[in-house]
Subunit: 374 residues, 2 copies
Amino acid sequence: MSEPVFPEHVVLQVSLGERSYPIHIGAGLLGSGIVRRHVQSRQVAVVSNEIVAPLHGNRLLGELGGLDVRQIILRDGEQEKNLENFNAILTRMLESGFSRNCTLIALGGGVVGDLCGFAAACYMRGVRFIQVPTTLLAQVDSSVGGKTAVNHPLGKNMIGAFHQPVAVVADTGLLETLPEREYLAGLAEVIKYGLIRDAVFLDWLEQNIGPLRRRAPDALAHAVHRSCQNKAEVVAADERESGQRALLNLGHTFGHAIETAQEYRGLLHGEAVAVGMVMAAGFSEQTGLMPPGSAARVRSLLERTGLPVEPPPGLSAEEFLAIMARDKKAVDGKMRLILMNKPGEAFVCDAVPVAALREYLGECLAGAAVRRTN
Amino acid sequence: MSEPVFPEHVVLQVSLGERSYPIHIGAGLLGSGIVRRHVQSRQVAVVSNEIVAPLHGNRLLGELGGLDVRQIILRDGEQEKNLENFNAILTRMLESGFSRNCTLIALGGGVVGDLCGFAAACYMRGVRFIQVPTTLLAQVDSSVGGKTAVNHPLGKNMIGAFHQPVAVVADTGLLETLPEREYLAGLAEVIKYGLIRDAVFLDWLEQNIGPLRRRAPDALAHAVHRSCQNKAEVVAADERESGQRALLNLGHTFGHAIETAQEYRGLLHGEAVAVGMVMAAGFSEQTGLMPPGSAARVRSLLERTGLPVEPPPGLSAEEFLAIMARDKKAVDGKMRLILMNKPGEAFVCDAVPVAALREYLGECLAGAAVRRTN
């Protein structure tokens, strides 16, 4: 048998010693046999959802011929990322007699990847799993780095584990069928890498946001590649988020507060992060960390991307603060936030002055209310 | 303030790089301040059960004065080691606003330690926890090594994680109040270390089983110390059970089958392991691995300890085999068992001949039935 020929693609390495793994990026990867190459067991469970499975499931199953494959198809939506579905996946695997040598494959977006990854982390104390992200957000962010979790009614991602996949296969061709709103939400996380640590990429994004919005293949390939490169570097330097990995949370504490207040039924995660990054930029500028005009630059790029940049109505500054303080990024009562020295350079602020934050939130929400009525 | 003076005790180190931690062993350790020394946060949750908390809870709480302590008291019993209680612990911590900087303390036996450890592994993707084992079994086995889990209706310890504690504090004085049956069940795991890798300790056990059964303090201290030393060495060499750590499962695949068949309402874990070790020894001798008479020596020591050595009635060889094959130690359909070359030296057998095992099980169960009717 001759060696299989895989489509042209780039391979990045996430360097984590014995837990290192490749990220394959390129159009047309799904169905080419690359996933199969990372499966080392006969027993395979594919976790997906009712939207993704009909679109891409057969191409994946085509690679897995001859293996003992079980499909676990979930409903769509963030509310499915819960302990009940975690238990349902494990029960199905136990009923199927799967050993600790089995492989789990996550075919879907962040919800499927996080849930499937957490199941893989806990099934018999940990089995192999492969990420096949099908959304832009999952390809550039959630599928890389080993953060797995489910939500709890009292907070997002509160129950979880660090469990690295054995491979990530990001087929950028799959993004063609992504609904517009979801695609744009993914761009928020792409822009995040520019904002936190890659000024060159940020310039490129400002110049190429048009083609990127239109999903021009070259622009898209570059954006996914550069994002994964940034993510892989950060994760390799700080797997368990004891230091710089926290930078990846830029906009997330504000964003999570919005998502929690809306009970995950309002803005998409990426949209909430976009608003959160505008707020983090605004607060950074107001406290004198960033030069005047910097926050406007951040806001402008996200606006041109077609993302929301204003917090939603109906949330007071005090409510905002209370939810933020409960976020897991709060340590022993002190507020931790990712702030910016300039667009392209973020840092972890471990003792945010709560009075200043309260004042900023009040002004920000009042400003948004005024702009809504005009 | 002067340095606290701690009771005389030995400290063993589990060497796992940045995850290394001490095991403190001695009488009177609880309440001395040693646990407190390993708490680095204000927020502390103590997980215990309705039997242990009234006996020893106050001594622990006495050490934790001035901290923000929540007590989570579970009912007693293996059936409490489930996903519902896991969720209940996490919910309580979230309701209390605990950050990822908090500390969990397990005060109890293996059930409390495994469950609390799994909660610590998953709360916000992992927080610090301290093991304060109050049973012999927990002191010599389950509290050391970072295996955490809950049970699933389809199998024991099927959902779990590797998560090392930051310290183990084994107060051998607590064992004085342990019910006789539970104490003896713990001795099964002590004897296990002799059988798998410590022939000198095995000789000592055969000579000192009388004092040890009577809980003579010196004999008890030596037994716990030597057991933890063996456990620490095995765990340091193979944290994630890719090799020799599997030796610790001697008797466990047979034992788990008994526990599963009895729905965890019959023999205690240590008792089932005692029967399982007799069976592993019997099978090892029957297949010619151990010289004749070796299995009788194993059986005799466990009998003198006051432990059961016969499988319970009502379980056929086929049922036994079916449950064993579903055990997580079965890999891709092949049966894995821990067998013995001699008492004091066990090894991992990765491809057990199922026909020979079926034959042995038939004879063993028939023999037990005959002995029951005589």
